[in-house]
Structures are given as C-alpha cells and as structure tokens.
C-alpha cells in the first residue's frame, strides 16, 4: 500500500535558522525600495527580502535557477507570496545588489513592494481550462508590460491590486481587487440534445441554473434553455459538457474596479462594474490594456495620498468616476441580479 495522508512538508524544515530563531519575534519592517524589505527582529537581527513578480506559469528550469540564486545568496531559502511573487530571504545586506543583478539578467525585475502594483493574480485561461471566455496569461503579460512603471516605481497613492479571472467561476480573487478583469460570455449556451441524454445528470443541470432558465425536456431526455432568462454564467456547462457556451464572436472581458480585502480604514469591498465588455483581441488585447492604463492613470492623478481605488471612488462618487474616466454609464451597470435593490440610490443628493 502506498503512503497516504501524511500531509505537506513541515514548514519549519523549509525555514532558515534566522527565521526560526526569530519566529514570532519580529519587531518592525521597513520598505527599502519597491523591490526590497527589511524585517527587524526584537534581538536586532535583520532579514532582507527581495521580491519579484513571476508569470506564475513557470518551467522547472527557471525554478532551478531560482534555487541556484537562493543557494548563492540566501543559504538555500526562499518563499512565494499569495500573489505568485517570489521572495528571496537574505541575511547579508551586501548580497542584495548582486542578487538583483542576477535577476535582471534572467528577465526578472524586483518590484511590487509598497505603493505599487504588485503581481497580477490570475487563472488558467486557454493554457489549461475548459471554461474560459478569455485567456489569462496573455492578457496579464500585456497589461503588466504596459503598467510596468507602476510596478517598479512607488508613484501611486496607495497599493493597487490587479487581477484576472477567465470566467465567472473566478478561481482567482478578483472580486475584491482594485482593478479586475473578468471573462464573460454574452450568448446563451447551445444544448446538444443527443449528448445531454448520454452524459449528463439532468436534475443537476436544471438545479445548477441560478436564474431557473433551464427546464427538462423529457421527450428528448434533454433540457431546454429559456434564452430570455439566461445570463450566460456557464454554470450549466460546468455541470454538463454537452451544453457548450463558447462564442468567439461574443466572448470577452469586463472590468471591475474599487475592491479591496484589507479592513484598514474602510472595510473590505467588492469590485464594481466599470466596463461591461471588451472583445478578445489576442495576442496583446490593446483595448483592455489601454483601458486599464487609463483607469490607473486617472486614479494616480486624482486620489489623495493613502486612498485605495475604492476609497477614492467613495469620496468622489460614482457619477464623478464616470465623468473623470470618460467611460460610458449604461444599463449594464445597474444591477438586476438577486440583491440589487440596496444598490439603488434613494436620495436626491448627487454631484454633477
């Protein structure tokens, strides 16, 4: 019998002596530059962190180079962040610059610390998933190339979190990001009756539809979809491969803004719709890229120091947001899903 249920490697086995010695005894930290942090322990010992974004999709040869660098500069220890950045953990300050030089040489740039854009959370897209409405890695690459100055230079009023989910399942935490890109479909799925009859659990398919757009069609041992009620979530396709929802002519990206997860100052907020639809434009998605750049530039210029994206919008108001960004406000921006009424304004107090 094979060995099972023994769990992950013990984290203490993966930690340097310095980290173990000062476990839970850190006193404060400082941001040295946009790629470097120092953490100071109560006993005065210092741990330097050099952070660099990765594309998340990494070949083992690159990971081996990371290992080489960690052996060379960090006694063999490094870690990753929850946003797919790598962090080298150095004890010797004089190793920082040589490490950075080596990273640059392999095409990786330190950054993402402090009031910057840190690495962009994203999902699988066309690389490895069956439900995406957009690609993930390609858009991330194009967007990050464009806003790279905000990654290496601390010129934003506060930190800014970008993320992307390639369909509404949203495997990455985009709904609470400052700027989020989400893949959406715009036409109802097609029902392939013969295949449905063979491969799908019909009661589950019917139950999967949030808007009750699906009803059984016993004669064909299949289902029918009421197109009027469908909002293209693709949940039925998740339950049944015989109800494909793709449409290259209509799939594309929506952009949401103003979310955050930390409770500092204002409690965590969901991201809200800014742009309902931009078509897929591989390989470099110029419209998405241009829109994200604009959204960030406007915020960088207008927000007060310390204000996150959503806090800025809360202060200036959504009507001002649409004015300063020049984005059109449409019927799509007004919620008509389950919990919509509390989002309607019931005062006569607005800005113009």
């Amino acid at each position: 019998m094979v060995k099972t249920d023994f769990g992950p490697p013990k984290y203490l086995d993966m930690m340097s002596d310095l980290c173990k010695r000062n476990y839970g005894k850190w006193k404060y930290h400082e941001v040295l530059d946009t790629g470097t942090l120092v953490h100071v322990a109560e006993n005065g010992e210092k741990l330097y962190t050099v952070r660099s974004a990765t594309p998340r999709l990494i070949h083992i040869d690159t990971l081996r180079v990371f290992c080489d660098l960690a052996d060379k500069y960090c006694n063999g220890f490094f870690r990753f962040t929850s946003r797919h950045s790598i962090e080298f953990l150095l004890e010797d300050e004089s190793n920082i610059e040589p490490l950075k030089a080596d990273l640059h040489a392999m095409g990786y740039s330190p950054g993402g610390v402090g009031n910057t854009i840190s690495n962009m959370l994203h999902t699988q897209g066309w690389i490895h998933c069956h439900t995406p409405a957009i690609d993930a890695s390609g858009i991330v690459k194009a967007v990050m190339d464009e806003v790279f100055d905000y990654y290496t230079e601390a010129k934003l009023p506060a930190r800014l979190r970008l993320s992307l989910a390639c369909c509404l399942n949203m495997c990455g935490a985009v709904h609470c990001s400052d700027v989020a890109i989400v893949g959406i479909h715009r036409v109802p799925p097609k029902v392939l009756d013969e295949k449905v009859a063979k491969m799908c659990e019909i009661p589950n398919v019917v139950a999967a539809c949030p808007t009750r757009a699906i009803r059984p069609e016993p004669a064909k041992k299949s289902v029918v979809i009421n197109d009027e009620k469908c909002m293209y979530c693709g949940n039925c396709y998740t339950m049944c491969p015989a109800i494909p929802i793709f449409d290259p002519k209509n799939d594309g990206a929506a952009i949401f803004v103003g979310g955050k997860v930390s409770d500092a100052r204002h409690p965590a907020m969901f991201s809200k719709l800014a742009v309902p639809y931009i078509p897929n434009e591989p390989p470099k998605w110029p419209t998405v890229v241009k829109t994200v750049r604009m959204l960030i530039d406007v915020y960088a210029k207008d927000a007060k120091q310390g204000e996150r994206y959503g806090e800025w919008i809360n202060r200036i108001g959504w009507e001002r947001f649409f004015k300063v960004t020049g984005l059109p406000f449409t019927d799509k921006h007004i919620d008509d899903y389950i919990f919509s009424v509390p989002t309607f304004r019931s005062t006569a107090t607005f800005k113009w």
Partner: protein, 105 residues
Amino acid sequence: MPFIDVNGEQLEVDEDGFLQDPEKWNEDVAKYLAKTEQVEELTEEHWKMVNYLHDYFKKYQIAPMVRKLCKDNGMDLKKVYELFPTGPAKGACKIAGLPKPTGCV
C-alpha cells in the same frame, strides 16, 4: 471515442473510461470495468454498492451525494475506499455504469 470489448460487444466509453450509454450496462460490463479500477473481484459488498448506485441513478438520474451513499449502505468513507481504492466517484460510479460525475474541480 475509445471502445471496450465485453464478451464480443463493443461499448463506447469516454477518455476516462466511463460508459457512454447507461442502457448498455450489465453484470459483465461491471466486472470488466471493475478490473480497470483496481477491483479484482466484485464481492457481495461491492455488488451492494454497485447495485445501489445503479438503481439510484435509474430512479433520480443523478448520483447520490457521498454522505447519502455512505448512510444508505451503512458504510463509512474509509470502507468505501477499501472496497473501491479509486474512490466513490471514479471507482464505484464507473463500475455501476453511471455517467462521469461533473462539477467544480
């Protein structure tokens, strides 16, 4: 799509080896599929589960949830994995001729 050969009859299966047409299922098919899921011999306990799954699906057109499956057969999950080492969804459901379970991975 691949096919399996059970007593000279060609049966279509999907890439994971799930039977495409539930109507074609019978005891011999179950025995054949059992071998592909590390069940060398279907004992009485195996048959209890397999028949239960098959009947449940016939009645409701869905596979039971795992808790229900354990409860209705008086087995805990550990026992289910002892009988079907590849688990209730991949192992037991396949042997019972159910379509491939779907959902979030």
